[in-house]
């Protein structure tokens, strides 16, 4: 029989401890990644309105691409896990359905985000 690592086992599929931990890790990373994002847009950026060409220039370097993918991923995880937490706090009963919807929604937004990034690179 396959011996799954302990991380993937436990109570149901909810993995409370792991989502809690990921929420902390994503929070810590967002402090950095979002910080750079805002800094890049407001401080580093000289012109009044952000233009396509500027954005494209930034995204021509690999670290920036990575930065935005991470920002997207952790931002979405943090946001949607946060929403889920609020709902459970309020006494949510239909947990599995909600998780399903949130995952689909999150994945969709991630797809949209990645699509946008690709648009800049191409």
């Amino acid at each position: 029989m396959l011996n799954f690592p302990r991380i993937l086992t436990g109570e149901g599929v909810l993995l409370n401890a792991m989502t809690w931990l990921l929420q902390r890790i994503s929070a810590a990373l967002l402090l950095v990644v979002l910080g750079i994002h805002i800094w890049a847009l407001y401080v580093f950026n000289t012109s009044e309105v952000i233009s396509f060409s500027e954005a494209r220039a930034r995204l021509s370097s690999a670290p920036y691409v990575l930065l935005y993918v991470l920002l997207l991923f952790f931002g979405l995880f943090h946001a949607f896990n946060g929403v889920y937490t609020v709902m459970v706090d309020m006494g949510l009963k239909t947990r599995k359905t909600t998780i399903g919807i949130l995952i689909i929604l999150g994945t969709a937004l991630f797809g949209i985000g990645v699509y946008s990034i690709i648009q800049f690179i191409m």
């Binding site: 929070a27 309105v49 952000i50 396509f52 946060g82 929403v83 699509y115 648009q119």
Partner: protein, 129 residues
């Protein structure tokens, strides 16, 4: 079992929160800004991506429209405030998570608020100048 079953089960919920305490307000604001930021994030991602569907021109047009709108210009200050609050209080919560500051939670909150106010005001000054 009379004493267990007699339970006057009609539950009359009274006001349970402790409103005159820092921790409660810190949490309320954290929730409020959090939900606000989620909504912004969804809006932000969809706007950027939809504007890119027809290429650079539409992107530039949308951004110019958004960034020159005076109402949105000021509303952005709110967004910045929310990010600063959520971030700084988030740092405070992370401190608790690694086991620091339980006896000084109120002091930490106010320190974070002072720092946040300085950050926000400097953004306001830069933005309005």
């Amino acid at each position: 079992m009379p004493s267990r079953e007699m339970v006057a089960s009609q539950r009359y919920k009274t006001n349970s929160q402790v409103w005159n305490a820092v921790g409660m307000w810190a949490w309320m604001l954290h929730r409020a800004t959090g939900i606000g930021l989620v909504l912004y994030l969804i809006l932000h991602a969809t706007l950027i991506s939809t504007s890119l569907i027809s290429g650079a021109q539409s992107f530039n047009a949308t951004l110019t429209m958004l960034m020159t709108n005076p109402v949105l210009h000021y509303m952005e200050l709110l967004l910045v405030g929310a990010v600063i609050y959520h971030g700084l209080n988030g740092v405070r919560l992370l401190l608790f998570d690694i086991g620091i500051g339980f006896s000084k939670q109120k002091e930490i909150f106010w320190a974070a608020m002072v720092l946040g106010a300085i950050m926000w005001i400097s953004v306001v000054v830069v933005k309005l100048s």
